[in-house]
């Protein structure tokens, strides 16, 4: 089943390009350490999911590109065409001239209604191209104006127009030390709207990915395309084809649905995170070997201690011995060391994957009391390796990981708001919206 991606704003479009590029590169430029037949099945599944075919044979990404100013879309389209391996649909983009000025209210209340019809038409066309349609990816940032405001609007519209399809928003959490001054307002407004209309929010934090580039990939001068490539790698390792059950060799038909079924058991808890292991530069990869036991041990500790990468993990953090802390005890002032999960999904790819032992993730101490580990934890194992990694594991989890960053953002937004400062001369709408949202 196919997934249609909506790329919004500069961030969304830049990342979207890297994602499609990574997906295709993995499925076509790499043998996968498995049989040819196996590999071909993988390629077909990947293609069907993310690309549509054209007469010339060049795959066309199932994507709609939206931005309120033309520069980034033009760049993205030309980069894709230049790669020669794939491209975007000719008429799959919508852009305006003026941009949103980092103003959530412009994106949501002005650009949204104004261009609703055109954007939804484009999405409709893309959906109609799919033989069987599974759901949407919406890639957007929270700090800017278009991605955040228009993204929230589009997600809401998708919910109205496609109530039976799933929507997963890929959200980019901005750097803590500021990319945009009003990013906290924009983030709070976006999250509160998305929480009602989206089915799952897969959150990617710029700070975390930046550290991965610095520490694990050893990149000296990190550019946004480096960051986006790491992100694309993480997404690829989740959404590339996986087997549907333990022993069958058919690729899973509806990864989006299965993922949400496992990870979002309760509609009030829909923030998901991705952690993958191993992650390193290509040069280092040539000299490294891995065992499943080692990888899984690290991954488990990354989950428990809320680490985002395999370096600098705090091994002191342990799950509580006598069951769980009672529910109401979530005080944010004391340091929350242990990261409780609601649900976890581990996806393993590569050599000897059947021998991997995931018992460590079934420990009830990791989870809340109202969901048994047998329901809370799932594992998908696939023989075909991902992107040159002989063995790779990725953990998608629904846990407390975002509590601190979220608290920080709300605190900063509140401080800025409660000091009675206007946010620029033309934004009374924004003020009213922020006030309403901060109270929820």
């Amino acid at each position: 089943m196919s997934i249609v991606t909506v790329q919004l704003g500069q961030c969304g479009n830049q990342i979207g390009f890297e994602v499609f590029d990574a997906l295709l590169r993995d499925s076509h430029s790499f043998q996968g350490l498995c049989s040819k037949r196996e590999n071909e099945a993988y390629q077909t599944s990947c293609k069907e999911r993310f690309f549509s075919e054209e007469e010339s044979g060049v795959p066309i990404a199932r994507a709609v590109l939206v931005d309120m100013e033309p520069k980034v879309i033009n760049q993205t389209l030309s980069k894709a065409a230049q790669s020669g391996r794939w491209k975007y649909g000719q008429h799959a983009c919508f852009c305006q001239k003026q941009g949103s000025g980092n103003n959530w209210a412009y994106g949501y209340s002005v650009h949204g209604p104004r261009h609703e019809e055109s954007i939804m038409n484009l999405i409709q066309k893309e959906v109609e191209k799919c033989d069987s349609f599974s759901g949407f990816f919406i890639i957007m940032s929270m700090a800017g104006g278009t991605g955040s405001g228009l993204g929230a609007f589009v997600t809401q519209n998708l919910q109205d127009q496609y109530p039976n399809s799933l929507k997963m928003n890929q959200i980019i959490w901005p750097y803590g030390t500021g990319e945009v001054i009003v990013q906290n307002y924009n983030s709070v407004l976006t999250l509160s709207h998305l929480y009602r209309s989206s089915d799952a929010l897969l959150v990617h934090e710029n700070d975390a990915v930046h550290k991965i580039c610095a520490k694990l990939m050893n990149i000296k001068q990190i550019s946004f395309s480096d960051i986006n490539q790491v992100l694309a790698h993480q997404l690829g390792s989740v959404f590339q084809p996986t087997y549907s059950a333990e022993s069958s060799f058919h690729y899973r038909r509806n990864p989006l649905g299965d993922l949400m079924e496992h990870l979002v058991p309760h509609p009030e808890f829909k923030m998901l995170s991705v952690r993958n292991i191993p992650h390193m530069s290509e040069d280092s990869l040539a000299y490294s070997t891995f065992t499943w036991a080692g990888l899984l041990k690290h991954l488990r500790q990354m989950l428990i201690s809320n680490a985002k990468m395999e370096e600098g993990i705090d091994w002191q953090v342990r799950p509580p011995l006598s069951g769980l802390p009672p529910l109401g005890k979530m005080s944010l002032s004391k340091d929350l060391h242990f990261n409780t999960s609601i649900a976890n999904l581990v996806i393993l790819r590569g050599k000897d994957v059947q021998s991997a032992d995931v018992e460590g993730f079934k420990d009830p101490a990791l989870y809340t009391s109202w969901l048994e580990p047998v329901h809370a934890f799932n594992v998908w194992k696939t023989q075909r390796a991902f992107s040159k990694y002989e063995k790779s594991a990725v953990l998608v989890s629904n846990s407390q990981f975002l509590v601190k960053p979220l608290d920080m953002i709300v605190k900063k937004a509140w401080n800025m708001f409660a000091s009675k400062k206007e946010c620029g001369p033309r934004k009374n709408e924004l003020r009213a919206l922020v006030w309403a949202r901060l109270k929820c």
Partner: protein, 543 residues
């Protein structure tokens, strides 16, 4: 892509404007090798087929035929504009976009504003409308003028009001040259203060610059070049100091180098909007991020590096120096020291081969030495543009909304009061129809209010930050709320696990109490209203 129109008023404005157009042409010539009229060029230039008579010659795509600047040139005496029109840039300007007179404003704001304002009002409107019509999507007016003279200051600010009325959606960015201490115009304090009132009220964003700072920067560059210190050499093609390859050959006037700096400022400001980059910043984002109050829209700017080095691949050490310099008081285009004053917001616009990690590393490094206002501790706006300026491999423009502008304003006010107390030269102004003493007093009180705002902010400088108690609604309720529009109190009831009604009721009470506990006076009224609305639901829960 959006377009911008440059309105250059008075001698100073036109001279700077002329430098600006020269540099803009050179920059686009360096970037646009194929000679195709693209969106980047269209932001400042029109493509016109000069063989077509009249107005219908605009070409929107294809090869560049003849470029016309999106500019309106205004001066009340002919000398400067005539010189431009006889110079090498004459073909860049549209003959229909000029307004000139003969006698000049005599360094008298009142003459510029009241007399020439009313005289040329219709013509001005017509030219501005024309230039706006030529734009597909007009985003911004850039006004360049000086504050100390008569035309730039008086007529320039008259324009502002007109632009606000006619084009309310279009941003007004004003580049104002403030008079230095040793200014040669005696009435410059009067002109400046009268103009400041207009800037306070009608401009979206002001970039104050003064001649003394520009002069100091030029002197520093000359010193570096002449001493040959550290092997630094100024590249011959540097846009900052030299004009080789420029259309204007004569470089004898000292103002030329200074005007070049201001022209560079405008180019760098718009670079991220015109050219591609990994983190774009459009002009509307400048106002959105850097202007927390409508009145506090004065941004101190600094451009680094001012001299190119022989190396193209500059190791990070040099790159970091560029960032450090941006915050030093010697590199500001105004006599101001932002490091020792309070930042309300700061924007770093980087061009060239600089990546996000360089930017982040430098922000982390410099943050501890800078003081930000309590409600905006991480008040940074950043942008990365891939295209460097001509002759450099990278450059940085820092825009700071900082209380360090206060001394400039206070000094201006002082000079004004010295003259005003003696009523010196006042009669020249009062002779003009429409001018009264109240104009002066209003202008001064407007400036005093502005200074007071900055004072209040400065008072919070070293006060420890206290987090205001937040609204913490522990349990939420679904309300069919008919309360006031501002509070659309809107929550979902969810009881995880226990559905103990007494527990949830007490939590509800707790949340209502905290709602009333916020230290913001005007909200109390709303909160009481909220409670009144919810009371019926509150009792329903217990039934």
């Amino acid at each position: 892509m959006t377009q911008s129109v440059v309105v250059q008023v008075g001698q100073c404005g036109n001279q700077i404007g002329c430098c600006f157009w020269d540099l803009a042409l050179r920059e686009h010539a360096a970037v646009n090798q194929k000679g195709i009229y693209d969106e980047a060029i269209s932001s400042f230039f029109r493509n016109v087929d000069t063989r077509v008579v009249g107005d219908g010659g605009s070409i929107s795509k294809g090869k560049i035929c003849s470029l016309k600047a999106r500019a309106v040139l205004i001066d009340m005496e002919e000398g400067v504009v005539n010189e431009i029109l006889q110079g090498p840039l004459r073909d860049v300007f549209d003959m229909n976009q000029l307004i000139t007179d003969i006698s000049g404003s005599g360094n008298n704001w009142a003459v510029g504003h009241k007399v020439f304002g009313s005289l040329y009002q219709d013509q001005l409107l017509e030219k501005l409308r024309k230039s706006a019509e030529h734009c597909d999507c007009l985003q911004c007016f850039f006004i360049i003028h000086s504050m100390g003279g008569g035309t730039g200051s008086g007529l320039g600010t008259f324009l502002l009001k007109m632009l606000e009325d006619e084009f309310p959606e279009v941003y007004r960015f004003v580049t104002s040259i403030y008079p230095s201490c040793e200014d040669d115009v005696i009435t410059s304090p009067y002109n400046s203060i009268l103009a400041m009132k207009e800037l306070n009220e009608h401009a979206d964003c002001v970039l104050p610059i003064d001649n003394q700072s520009l002069f100091d920067i030029i002197s520093k560059i000359d010193l570096m070049v002449n001493s040959g210190k550290l092997g630094t050499t100024v590249k011959p093609k540097s846009l900052v100091t030299s004009s080789s390859g420029a259309l204007k050959k004569c470089h004898k006037k000292p103002f030329d180098a200074m005007n070049n700096i201001v022209a560079n400022l405008l180019l760098n400001l718009t670079s991220s909007a015109r050219f591609e980059g990994s983190l774009n910043m459009d002009l509307n984002e400048i106002s959105m991020n850097l202007v927390p109050f409508p009145q506090l829209h004065y941004l101190v700017s600094s451009l680094t590096p001012l001299y190119t080095l022989a190396d193209v691949n500059i190791p990070p050490r040099r790159l970091d120096q560029m960032f450090s310099d941006a915050f030093s008081k010697d590199h500001q285009l105004l006599q101001a020291d932002p490091k020792h004053s309070l930042y309300l917001a700061c924007a770093l616009m980087v061009r060239g081969n600089v990546q996000i990690s360089d930017l982040r590393r430098n922000i982390e490094r410099l943050k501890p030495s800078l003081q930000f206002v309590s409600w905006n501790q991480e008040g940074w706006k950043t942008s990365l543009c891939s295209i460097p300026p001509v002759g450099h491999s990278h450059s940085l423009l820092a825009l700071a909304n900082n209380t360090c502008v206060k001394p400039t304003f206070m000094e201006l006010k002082e000079r004004f009061m010295r003259l005003y107390k003696k009523k010196a030269h006042l009669h020249h102004y009062l002779q003009v129809e429409g001018m009264e003493e109240s104009c002066f007093t209003e202008a001064v009180s407007s400036l005093s209010a502005l200074i007071q705002e900055y004072n209040q902010l400065d008072a919070t400088k070293n006060v420890p930050v206290q987090d205001l108690p937040r609204l913490s609604i522990a349990v939420s309720l679904t309300l069919p709320c008919q309360c006031s529009g501002v509070i659309s109190a809107h929550c979902n009831l969810h009881c995880l696990g226990s559905s103990d009604s007494s527990a949830s009721a007490s939590q509800l009470l707790f949340s209502l109490v905290t709602l009333l506990d916020i230290p913001i006076p005007h909200v109390l009224e709303q909160a009481v209203h909220f409670v009144a609305c919810t009371r019926h639901f509150f009792f329903q829960v217990f039934q």
